[in-house]
């Protein structure tokens, strides 16, 4: 007993007097004792540093191995990454005016998905032009009227359109959307669309009969020039056809008639331009044909929408960080478990509990020490790994989604918290089970195995097991306007970031509670 005191005080400095005064009944002193125990086992300190180094190294190697070069991705008016690829039959409009058209039919086809996994780019570039198209309309295939200041990539726009299975929609500037008439457009249910311009304000209307019109919504496009481009557009995005396991690019064909324009149209003739971007398309699918003065058949492939992760690249940049985190997690679980179980094996627990008979506090101090050290190592490692992987991925030509400062801070701090909570959970498991092998296996099964079983799809495992905490690393944009494979391997988690971390925190709290109860109840 005296020796212990002496040992604790030996490693201290003047702080020891204050620490007694700070802590209620000497909790600070208990923390210091536990920290000394950790610090003086050299293998644990080395392993903790190794965890951070392995984190960074594995992130680095994962980033290095990923090769998914992507051409330039345009930024929309709000600075977000966007897709801007479509078939545009247009002419200039000076000043105010309107364009009305009837969509008589909308049909589609998709390329045959290749059986091998890969990204949409790989498939579309390998596909043979015009060959192996199968009928099928993408849910977000679009055909309608669009108005924009110019045809540059990522330009502002307002559009009213018929979609594959989302009815009539008015959309502007990629992220804004308001619904009009529901139901598909076809010979039995044609849709009349109208877009009017008055200064900066664009208004969209739809009608089922061409007589009674309903306003869908308005868009205010700031600093719209006097002369804008207005016309008909068709596009059809990458989607998941029924029965096919893989996403595939698609093409849509719309038949327009009763096209009539109002306002000052200086050129009085229509020009068809495929607006090409980086987006995967069915090759040579963009065509147009003017059947009569006011009737067109237009085919287009692509999308006008926010860009989401799985379209652009086979790999989510953050996957490197996830890999690093899991490797570090294995180290942290082993160290924290040993921190708890080695007391039992060496008989130190008797001394520890004699020195501080309030057992719950001993466990709390252990959890705090292990958790704080893992948090510190994890935060530093994540910050370094983020920096390193972004450099490597950029150098490889991979596209990196713009990431806000708060989101980056959330990933760095959150990953530290994930590792810290995992360490505390491992301490609790070690105290409960007292056997290193069983406790480590339990920790890994709880924290890592659900990722193995559930990473293919965003199922309940990633929501209700401690693995949910990995949601804290989610960074990719998600949009209701895009059919995407929002699954964990693509960087999308079925739970929000902080809620995911809270799930792990709840498991840790429950395990610490159970461990405290057991520690109090049984002999050491």
């Amino acid at each position: 007993m005296k020796q212990i005191r002496t040992r604790i005080h030996d490693c201290g400095d003047d702080l020891r007097y204050r620490s007694v005064a700070w802590g209620r009944d000497g909790f600070a002193r208990l923390l210091r004792a536990e920290f000394t125990k950790f610090r003086t086992v050299r293998a644990w300190m080395i392993a903790l540093c190794a965890a951070a180094i392995v984190f960074v190294l594995l992130s680095f190697v994962s980033a290095l191995a990923s090769r998914a070069p992507v051409p330039a991705v345009p930024a929309g008016p709000g600075g977000e990454a966007v897709s801007d690829t479509y078939m545009f039959v247009h002419q200039a409009l000076a000043g105010d005016g309107a364009l009305t058209a009837r969509v008589a039919s909308l049909s589609g086809a998709h390329a045959s998905p290749s059986p091998t996994a890969g990204n949409a780019f790989g498939r579309s570039s390998k596909g043979q032009p015009g060959a192996q198209l199968q009928p099928g309309l993408a849910p977000w295939a679009k055909a309608g009227i669009i108005l924009e200041p110019d045809t540059n990539q990522g330009t502002a726009y307002a559009a009213v359109m018929v979609t594959g299975s989302h009815g009539v929609q008015m959309q502007y500037d990629y992220t804004h959307d308001s619904p009009g008439l529901a139901g598909p457009a076809g010979p039995s249910s044609p849709r009349w669309l109208r877009l009017t311009r008055a200064g900066d304000v664009i208004t969209g209307y739809d009608s089922a009969d061409g007589a009674r019109w309903t306003e869908i919504g308005t868009a205010r496009l700031a600093r719209l020039p006097r002369t804008v481009q207005i016309g008909l557009f068709v596009t059809s995005p990458v989607y998941f056809p029924a029965g096919a396991g893989a996403p595939t690019s698609s093409v849509a064909t719309a038949s327009f008639d009763q096209v009539s324009a109002r306002g000052d149209l200086p050129r009085r003739s229509w020009t068809g331009d495929p607006i090409a971007g980086f987006y995967p398309t069915v090759p040579s699918a963009s065509t147009w044909q003017q059947r009569s003065a006011g009737a067109f058949t237009i085919s287009g492939s692509g999308d006008i929408a926010p860009l989401v992760g799985d379209i652009i690249s086979a790999q989510w940049a953050g996957a490197s960080i996830v890999n690093g985190t899991i490797a570090a997690l294995l180290f942290v679980i082993v160290i924290a478990t040993l921190f708890a179980t080695s007391e039992y094996r060496r008989g130190l627990i008797n001394t520890t509990l004699a020195a501080s008979p309030r057992r719950g506090r001993v466990l709390a101090a252990k959890a705090v020490v292990a958790g704080s050290l893992a948090f510190a190592a994890g935060t530093i490692a994540t910050a370094v790994a983020e920096e390193v992987t972004r450099h490597v991925l950029a150098a490889n030509g991979s596209y990196l989604f713009p990431q806000s400062g708060p989101a980056l801070a959330r990933v760095i701090i959150g990953t530290g918290l994930l590792l810290g909570l995992a360490a505390a959970l491992a301490v609790a498991l070690g105290t409960m089970l007292r056997r290193g092998a069983a406790a480590v296996a339990a920790g890994i099964v709880l924290l890592v195995l659900p990722g193995v079983l559930g990473s293919q799809s965003g199922n309940w495992l990633m929501r209700f097991t401690p693995t949910a905490a990995f949601a804290i690393q989610a960074t990719l944009p998600r949009s209701d306007l895009v059919t995407g494979a929002y699954t964990p391997p693509n960087g999308y988690f079925p739970i929000s970031p902080w809620a995911g971390l809270a799930v792990l925190a709840a498991y840790t709290a429950a395990a610490l509670g159970a461990a405290t109860w057991l520690l109090r109840r049984r002999d050491a």
Partner: protein
């Protein structure tokens, strides 16, 4: 060797934890398998699902418990100071390791057979109700079906090989927590990295050489031509890992002080 086998059998048999852990391995395997089968949603058919593989999902968890049993068979001796006694009684150290491996493999084979049988039984009962059955064009889970039999038999062997791999690793590392961390890290880390890797060729190669992904190829009964590695070749990869671990453990056991 006979005495050695008998000694190892007695040591393993008289530990209460061995029985409970093996029981837990079988029960958890069957429970997770049944849960995985119940979680499948394929009402209209046409899903790329493999009935036998789904029914054997629990092996992913069961192997962790088997690994704990194997690691504790060795590390327990180091933890309690039993190992000098064992090695004094049987100075031929490789014989000790071989006896441990034989006894452990036997126990795990029996456990594995029970776990696999229960898992396939659960899968065979649950899956047809979830749209994955003979009425939707899937092969039935029956013992008469060649691929299903191979998946079942192979999964039992898989568990035994995982036990041997863990035994070798524990003999080399000695510290139980580190050994189990290393084994489970090796098993679980690679599949996650392979899924997330942005390089299709690389992830395929990873899945070919990693013990878990290669070894579990034995469970596939449909879509064999899309597997990263052929079933028996995959189990061979795992066997090579187990042999390598045992070799390393044996060498270290011979060379160093107990």
């Amino acid at each position: 060797m006979r005495e050695s086998l008998h000694a190892e059998w007695t040591k393993l048999r008289t530990l209460a934890s061995t029985f409970w852990l093996l029981l837990a391995a079988a029960a958890l395997t069957a429970m997770v398998s049944a849960a995985a089968a119940a979680a499948v949603r394929c009402p209209s058919g046409g899903c790329a699902d493999d009935p036998a593989k789904i029914s054997l999902t629990g092996i992913c968890l069961g192997q962790a418990v088997v690994a704990v049993v194997a690691v504790m068979a060795v590390s327990g001796e180091y933890g309690t100071g039993m190992i000098p006694v064992t090695l004094t009684a049987t100075p031929r150290r490789l014989t000790v390791l071989a006896a441990k491996a034989a006894v452990l493999a036997g126990l795990v084979l029996v456990t594995g057979a029970i776990a696999v049988f229960a898992s396939l039984l659960a899968g065979g009962l649950i899956l047809p109700g979830r749209g994955i059955g003979p009425s939707h064009g899937y092969p039935a889970i029956s013992p008469g079906d060649g691929p299903v039999l191979r998946a079942a038999f192979g999964s039992v062997l898989y568990l035994a090989l995982i036990a041997l791999l863990s035994l070798g690793a524990a003999t080399a590392v000695r510290e139980a927590a580190v050994a189990i961390g290393a084994v489970l890290g090796l098993l679980y880390l690679v599949p996650i990295i392979a899924v997330a890797a942005g390089n299709a060729d690389l992830s395929r190669h990873l899945e070919q050489i990693a013990p878990m992904t290669a070894g579990l190829a034995i469970q596939a009964t449909t879509g064999l031509n899309t597997l990263p590695i052929r079933p028996w070749a995959g189990l061979g990869v795992l066997a090579a890992w187990a042999a390598g671990a045992l070799l390393l453990g044996g060498l270290l056991l011979r060379m160093r002080d107990a």
